[in-house]
């Protein structure tokens, strides 16, 4: 049994631990932006749910950086 699962992060295939949470992935991919937007399979995820949300094989995760310029 593999100890990694395949998911897609920002359009790129990635292998991550099978029980990874969104909090884990944010750390793993070095996302430091306090205003980061996380989309999981086309759905917006609130920051308070990152720690309890685990990814499954073939999930699509988007880390979106906010645009605050005007």
């Amino acid at each position: 049994m593999s100890d990694r699962i395949r998911i897609v992060v920002n359009g790129m295939p990635e292998e991550v631990p099978p029980s990874a949470t969104l909090t884990d992935l944010i750390g793993l991919f070095g996302e430091m932006d306090p205003d980061l937007i996380v989309e999981l399979n086309g759905r917006f995820v609130f920051a308070q749910d990152y720690a309890a949300t685990r990814v499954a094989p073939n999930d699509r995760v988007e880390f979106i950086h906010p645009n605050f310029g005007g």
Partner: protein, 248 residues
């Protein structure tokens, strides 16, 4: 009612069944705050004045600088050093003398947002930082006024419409109060600002004429690099510090 000159001026948009005479009269009765007169505000304010919005309240604390002119097309080289609010008022009055322009050279924060908002019924966010947006959002939630967010960075931009009481607010999406310090201004490209601000102006006109805003509860992302638009539904955050937990 409209004068013959106004009816002719707006005739091409009045041909739209969603606008017509009734919609045009509603647009003329509209009072809209455009917060920020940079890349986004230049475009949004220009289209709203052209469309015949009765009163525009323009607020910006800055003066025109040379490095603004790649995108802030309401201002010109001769305006360098002038308050953006003053430069904008002059251009918009030349464009449409029927539009009453109230220009204020001021900063927007929690202390000033309410007074600056006055009796405007829609807020177009064309500011350049999260903190000012959060101050405007709190005023929007308190007075139940639509808040039309727009932001740009480099090739990309995003926009969403927040209707208090009927969906999420800006802080449902961006709840953090952490002050990002040491950030240098992002790179920006004029046409990206133009796309985002044009969508903000469209949403404003929709609201004024009574068409449902299409970006309520939806974040639209625009990429000038991939030439793709993506939209992401956003729910109301039950833990939102502004509209969710009723702590505001």
């Amino acid at each position: 009612m409209l004068t013959a000159e106004e009816a002719r001026r707006y005739s091409r948009q009045m041909q739209l069944p969603e606008i017509g005479l009734e919609g045009q009269v509603r647009i003329a009765a509209g009072r809209v705050m455009v917060a920020g007169l940079g890349g986004l505000g230049s475009i949004a304010a220009y289209y709203l004045a052209a469309a015949g919005v009765g009163c525009l309240k323009l607020v910006d604390r800055d003066r025109v600088a040379l490095e603004n002119l790649n995108r802030q097309i309401l201002h010109s080289t001769a305006d360098i050093g002038r308050p953006k609010s003053e430069s904008a008022r002059e251009k918009l009055r030349q464009l449409n003398p029927h539009c009453r322009v109230e220009a204020v050279h001021a900063s927007i924060d929690d202390g000033s947002a309410e007074a600056l908002l006055g009796d405007c019924s829609v807020i177009v966010d064309a500011t350049d930082n999260r903190e000012t947006r959060q101050a405007l959002n709190r005023a929007s939630v308190r007075h139940r006024l639509p808040f039309i967010y727009g932001g740009i960075s480099g090739w990309d931009g995003m926009t969403a419409t927040f209707i208090p009481g009927r969906g999420p607010c800006f802080s449902c999406l961006f709840p953090t109060r952490e002050v990002a310090n040491g950030l240098s201004p992002p790179p920006v490209l004029g046409p990206t600002a133009g796309i985002v601000a044009s969508i903000q102006a469209l949403e404003t006109l929709r609201i004024l004429v009574g068409c449902p805003p299409r970006l309520a509860g939806r974040l639209l992302r625009v990429s000038g690099l991939t030439m793709e638009f993506h939209s992401l539904p956003i729910d109301r955050n039950p833990l939102c510090p502004v509209c969710g937990g009723r702590t505001a």
